[in-house]
Amino acid sequence: MKKMIKNQRCGEMGKRGKRFSDSPFLRFSVSAIIYCLLPTVSHAADLHGFLQGNYSFRTSDTHCSGSTPCDKYWLLIEERVQISPSYEDPSGFFAAKAKLDFFHDAAVDGDFDMKVREAYFTLQGSSADAKVGRQIMTWGLGDLVFINDVFPKDWTAFLIGRPLEYLKLGIDGAKFGAYSNIINGELVIIPTFEPDNMPDSKRLLYFDPLPQVTNRAMHEPAEKPSNTEIALRLYRPVYDFDTSVYFYKGFWRMPSSPKDSTLTKVNHFYPRLKVYGASTQGSAFGGVLSLEAGYYDSHDSEGSDPEIENSQIRYLVAFQKAVTGDFTASAQYYVEKLVDYGEYVKTLDASFPRKDETRELYSIRLTHLLYHQTLKLSLFTFYSPTDKDYFVNPEIKYNITDNLWTNIGVNLFGGEQNSTFLGQFRNNDNVYCNMRYEF
């Protein structure tokens, strides 16, 4: 197969929606929060945050040429400051919080920049609450696989060794909760679409089916009422198992991928998507057992449009157990099955790599805490017997003091083909380290 290296400025796309000036909704939220904070700063506000250095070095040597990233180089040379002001009124009814990141990354553009990571206010009643503004949402039970967690992710952050919290991107929206003894519910409304931050072409090498096409456009769903995303979760305990059902109506967060080798211009867009799912988690067999499933109903006229992902059935089974004292082990089995596989095969351009009908993924996570839990040794691995690819991430984290921690880790990718989910990153092995002072 010919060498296919993506040379598109996906990093720019990922930044969209995160700059303060881009979102009127966010501007309103931040202004409202600052307005509420100002008169009360003296007695009820709090200020926290951190200073962080985050460095990552790509150790793979690809011996490539041209404009693509080659040889060994720094993926990340970043200093970051997070300022997190918060306020809660004495009754606890109203609260507001923001996390503002100021950073400078010498590995890519070297400019000083700022992002609003979170900025929201909450209203808390006796049986209902609301959270409005930019906020991180996490649903579902997967360990680095996502079925009912339909909220945006930053894959670049994950691949180059940022702290795990940076895998999650905030949504600009509102979450409403209602609670009772019978059932609890969370309704999330997202008027402004936020895509996943795809692997950044300025740092990473990955699979591009149309490497020769440089003329590309990215079309995000327009901000109009019919494009408002809705996510619903209903949950309650069932026989001591935490059980949820989910529904999502919105869009794929990864862009469409054209499958026509004759194209000279590519128009990426985010196809419509509905997800129906369920999960349950509880104590069983001396550990914690997790089950989750979802049906991805893609807007893809029965699998016949090769540009749009087919509908999928996704499910996982996971088990976690404390082996001894501070040593915990967990294993997870995840499956993604394409619906209408026959149509997919029939309509796919023969020059494109063909996915299997079923993708299986095993993962293992081992965590060992030592020296009064100040030293954490962890190992996370993915292995897919169907894609024949893997990911290995050993990491050591040490809390030097209560306020200062550091970590060092390695991300190793491999696979027989450069078109599979993990295999495409096989030239991006990296060593990363972080040091963070929290206050």
Binding site: D242, A322, N399
Partner: protein
């Protein structure tokens, strides 16, 4: 003939009398050991009720110092809520962390069951994520301290054989010294434990844990006992690792009983956003 018969019945009566006396003597000799064992177990039950179950519910602000042998300190500060569901049995715990900085706003919840593994949940604020965590090993360290989960929420009395080793004074307090050995050796780190139980309050004044080689490996001491709303409470305590010299000092800064904790405090909703009135 009649005389012979009456002599025989007289002998029988004597024999019966001696038998009854012998039986009573045997019973008398046996009784103290039986009642001693029952007493030891009963004392431990009473002690557990006084130590871990006072009031219907409780709210405490806990300040914990982890101190290494060379004097380096780390701090854990939290509010702990506890509600009893069954005397000496099921309980629910909710913990909110103020510091250290990397766990600020983190919450932690335990449903403690008398007859099976606990259920535990943790909320990680940076990911806005609630997860269950495996709770099958109660011997793991509680937040990195010298206390284990078992030390914090109690060990099932039925898991050990208890006996009264002696009775002695500790300072001004009269105490029972109870020796407890696990029925299943694999079910505990200690081969036996000595507990000095205050005869007045039934609180543990001191505990010594001995490993499989019979060597002392950790010591618990009650450093201050105060009366709080009519309940005697250990407001300062220390657990010291006898081998490494590392120790954990715990101080209760505020203690309130019977505050009317409702069941919904111990749910996912409040793990994510605890009510201000319960954690202040």
């Amino acid at each position: 003939m009649n005389k012979v018969r009456s002599q025989e019945s007289g002998v029988k009566k004597w024999m019966m009398g001696i038998l009854v006396v012998l039986l009573l003597l045997t019973a008398y000799c046996l009784l103290p050991t039986v009642s001693h064992a029952a007493d030891a177990s009963g004392i431990m039950k009473k002690s557990q009720l006084a130590f871990l179950y006072p009031g219907k519910d409780m709210k405490i602000r806990v300040y914990m110092k982890l101190i290494s042998q060379d004097g380096k300190e780390r701090v854990r500060e939290m509010t702990m809520l506890r509600k009893n569901y069954q005397e000496g049995g099921d309980q629910k715990y909710f913990i909110y962390f103020y510091q250290p900085a990397d766990v600020r706003d983190m919450t932690f919840m335990v449903y403690k069951y008398a007859a099976k593994d606990d259920d535990r949940w943790i909320f990680m604020p940076a990911l806005n994520m609630v997860r269950r965590i495996a709770a099958n090993d109660k011997r793991s360290s509680f937040v990195g301290s010298d206390f284990t989960y078992e030390d914090v929420s109690g060990r099932d009395i039925e898991d050990d054989n208890h006996s009264i080793a002696k009775e002695e004074k500790v300072g001004e307090r009269d105490a029972y010294v109870i020796k407890s050995a696990p029925k299943d050796e694999k079910g505990a780190d200690f081969s036996y434990k000595l507990s000095w139980i205050d005869k007045g309050s039934f609180l543990p004044i001191k505990e010594e844990y001995y490993d499989k080689r019979g060597e002392l490996y950790k010591t618990f001491t009650s450093d201050e006992i105060k009366d709080m709303q009519g309940f005697p409470v250990i407001t300062k305590r220390t657990m010291k690792d006898a081998k490494t010299g590392h120790r954990t000092e715990v101080a209760y800064q505020k203690t309130e009983f019977n505050i009317g904790l409702t069941d919904d405090v111990f749910t996912e909703r409040y793990l994510k956003k605890p009510l201000k009135k319960w954690i202040e």
